[in-house]
């Protein structure tokens, strides 16, 4: 018993040491989120138009506008409005959209899955196809594949998402009619039940194969447009990382032991070469969150991006600010989680 008591303070300080970075990360996360919330509030009060008038409608008379102003609490002192705003956020109340006449939070729930479908599909493609092609390029540098990849990756970075989306749409959808022109899976047409809100997954869950095929086809052009410039980056990065890794002495040592070339490529070189690639993938995911807006606009994909764009065009500010807030929070949280993961992945980083 006394030995436990003796060791308690030491154990406590070890615990404290281990938890300290964790706690400070957590605190920082809260600080950033709070800053984002406050900034969005400030921005919402900076908007040029009179929010009460916007909410009431452009035809409304002055009295009606004042009614609405009282209703929305816009005549209160600023600090009180701020407090209301904060408490609203904690209750997941992000205001109402003028366009859809629904609470923004409901709109977000409705449109989020389609965006997620796009983003996940794009992310998978960039990751797996990008790494695969990069590895193949490094392994077989004189092949036709490699030669064409070296041309593609130089041009690919320069392809703007919106333009290439437009071109793909015109060539493959309008002219060749290989893919749908716009939109995702038309649920009602195929009588698919909306469970997750993602066409591909829902059609699998419903066992509806033709619907699944349509859903996949609907994804092809938007994902291609979204991915093409980013995949050029990840292919190049993977290749250069692999190429330099394959030059290292330990690779030759493994070869000397009689390990087959493909085994060396996958189990030795790739493992070490992936480090910078994974970092880049994290950055690319952040980019994807914004890039979907472009694709959704061009292909009329009913996701958050299109929703935000329409809100923007119709001066419907609540959705815009709400989405900014949501994305910022998600972004910061994911970032922090990932940076806490790094020591786990690399055995050398102990500190």
């Amino acid at each position: 018993m006394s030995s436990i008591l003796k060791r308690a303070p030491a154990a406590f300080s070890i615990l404290k040491k281990k938890f300290q970075p964790f706690v400070s990360s957590l605190l920082w996360m809260l600080v950033v989120v709070w800053t984002a919330v406050t900034l969005t509030f400030i921005m919402s009060r900076l908007i040029p138009a009179d929010p009460a008038r916007l909410a009431a409608g452009l035809q409304a008379g002055q009295e009606q506008v004042e009614e609405v102003r009282k209703q929305l609490g816009l005549d209160r002192p600023l600090l009180e409005q701020y407090a209301n705003y904060l408490s609203g956020i904690l209750r997941f109340d992000l205001g109402k959209s003028i366009q859809t006449r629904q609470p923004v939070i409901d709109d977000i729930r409705e449109y989020l899955p389609a965006t997620l479908e796009l983003v996940f599909a794009a992310f998978f493609t960039i990751t797996f196809l990008g790494i695969l092609l990069g590895v193949l390029w490094a392994r077989f540098p004189k092949s036709i594949l490699s030669k064409s990849l070296s041309v593609f990756t130089v041009l690919g970075v320069a392809l703007p998402v919106f333009w290439i989306g437009l071109i793909l749409q015109v060539i493959f959808a309008a002219n060749l009619k290989l893919f749908p022109l716009a939109g995702n899976l038309p649920y009602s047409k195929y009588q698919v039940e909306s469970i997750t809100g993602m066409g591909t997954i829902d059609s699998i869950l419903s066992g509806n194969i033709p619907a699944f095929k349509t859903a996949i086809f609907a994804l092809v052009l938007p994902v291609t447009a979204l991915v093409i410039s980013q995949i050029a980056i990840s292919i190049r990065l993977t290749r250069s990382s692999m190429a330099s890794e394959l030059q290292k002495p330990y690779i030759n040592a493994a070869r000397a032991r009689g390990v087959s070339e493909w085994r060396i490529t996958v189990f030795d070189a790739l493992r070490n070469a992936l480090n910078p690639v994974i970092t880049m993938l994290g950055l690319q995911f952040g980019w994807l969150l914004g890039g979907t807006i472009l694709v959704e606009v061009v292909f009329s994909w009913p996701g958050l991006g299109l929703y935000a764009f329409n809100a923007f065009r119709t001066f419907d500010y609540n959705p815009i600010l709400a989405i900014t807030l949501v994305i910022t929070i998600v972004f910061v949280v994911v970032n922090q989680l990932v940076s806490m993961l790094y020591p786990v992945l690399d055995p050398r980083i102990k500190k």
């Binding site: 908007i47 703007p160 333009w163 807006i293 970032n335």
Partner: protein, 270 residues
Amino acid sequence: MITRVKIRKLVQFWPLFALGLIALIVLLPGVFTTKDPYSLDVINRLQPPSWEHFFGTDEGGRDIFSRVVYGSRITIGSAVLIVSISATAGILLGAIAGWFGGRIDGFLMRVLDVFLAFPYLVLAMALAASIGRNMGSAILALTLVWWPSYARMVRGQVLSIKNELHVKVSKTFVTSARQMLLWHIIPHTRRTIIARVTLDIGYVIIAITGLSFLGLGAQNPSPEWGLLIANARPYVLVGWWYSVFPGLVLVLIVSLIVAVGDKLSKETSW
């Protein structure tokens, strides 16, 4: 006489020529076109490409080629502006963080992590909603997202030089952060920074055209490239030239800039 050797030697300097050409287009558009990019001529709307109008005309009868040429000023010019500001700010902040270390460094790094890879489209939209949709808010949004990589680069350099100084020379040699910045960091990292800046100009061009496409940056009747393509969208099936040519020019110019940036980052002898 122009011999093969001379040609080969000249070809070595292709990055310079490429950048020179781009600068020429931006600074002296009159060299390339005599038409007014803003003058309407509705009778001749949506004409296909011809000798008169290399890229055809748009829905207002304006010559697309000259719009592209003049648009380069806005697109490329604002990209250069954005990169200049964010590079300068990033370098300064990175140097400060690295030099003073401790809490300042810790704080700055945390801030950096927030902005690094933040989806700029979202930020631009929020800014445009609050302070107005114009190039200014677009430039601000992009600058905020682009400075971290420079800060990180410079901070790393400062840290390694700090270590070196500790070992080699006593701290009394370097009296201030400013001195260190001017005489150690910049000469050392000059090349990396210039390469990085070149690449970034290419990437920022893509970003800014995207913003204008959505209506977040340039506004009509500006001939900014992203806006051009957005305007071309309704006519894409009747006037293919309207969306194809500006896009092609965009892709070509950015490819060129990125290729130059790549070359610069690999080259060690300049």
